[in-house]
């Protein structure tokens, strides 16, 4: 059960792998809500959670692979994810809930 090609040896490597695996499971669950969510705000909540989980994964990946530039990618994703949430909130605020109720 290895998520990363390169990770630290021993207990720390195991922790990083298991943590990344849990984030993968969480991403799948968030995608379930993104597809199923009956209203538009539901989907936006799922998108917000997905960007947050990707930031967490990038931080773990920067640690495990030793390529610290991935931390910059996580920082940029945190900024852009927040802007996306705000933009969607403004859209719902102005246009109402335009998502179809399935």
């Amino acid at each position: 059960m290895r998520v990363f090609l390169q990770s630290p040896e021993g207990f720390l490597g195991w922790c990083a792998n298991v943590s990344a695996l849990m984030i993968f499971l969480a991403l799948m669950l968030a995608v379930v809500r993104l597809i199923r969510g009956p209203s538009l705000p539901d989907r936006v909540v799922a998108l917000d959670l997905i960007s947050m989980l990707l930031v967490a994964f990038l931080v773990i990946f920067a640690y495990a692979s030793g390529v610290y530039a991935y931390l910059d990618a996580g920082l940029a994703l945190a900024l852009v994810g927040f802007l996306g949430t705000v933009a969607f909130a403004r859209l719902i605020d102005h246009n109402g809930d335009t998502g179809e109720s399935s």
Partner: protein, 111 residues
């Protein structure tokens, strides 16, 4: 010893991320789901950032990890508040267990 503690914190962060996603799938309506996503999600990312910052212990990495975590802690409540306000104004349905103060309807149509 320190490494063991930091590893356990890393695992806890992953577990909180998983709990956040579980809450988003299982909770009954938007407003309740937002609790799981913002609170548990922020805690999970914060724990993971702190643990990796302690493990790498280089000044550039530590500062950037702290900036990521601080930024998420600042922005997650703001985004959740905007989204909850917009969902309420768009008449997104409540869970049947939610009781509502009638005066809150004034907020929906401001004059």
């Amino acid at each position: 010893m320190i490494d063991g503690i930091l590893g356990v914190i890393l695992l806890l962060g992953g577990a909180f991320c998983l709990i956040a996603a579980l809450g988003v799938v299982r909770m009954p309506d938007v407003y309740v789901r937002m609790h799981a996503s913002t609170k548990a999600g922020t805690l999970g990312v914060g724990l993971i950032g702190m643990a990796t910052a302690g493990l790498v212990a280089e000044s550039g990495f530590v500062v950037k990890a702290f900036v990521v975590v601080a930024f998420l802690i600042i922005t997650a409540p703001v985004g959740a508040h905007l989204l909850g306000r917009a969902a309420f104004k768009a008449n997104t349905p409540f869970w049947k267990g939610t009781t509502e103060d009638p005066a809150v309807q004034n907020f929906r149509e401001p004059d």
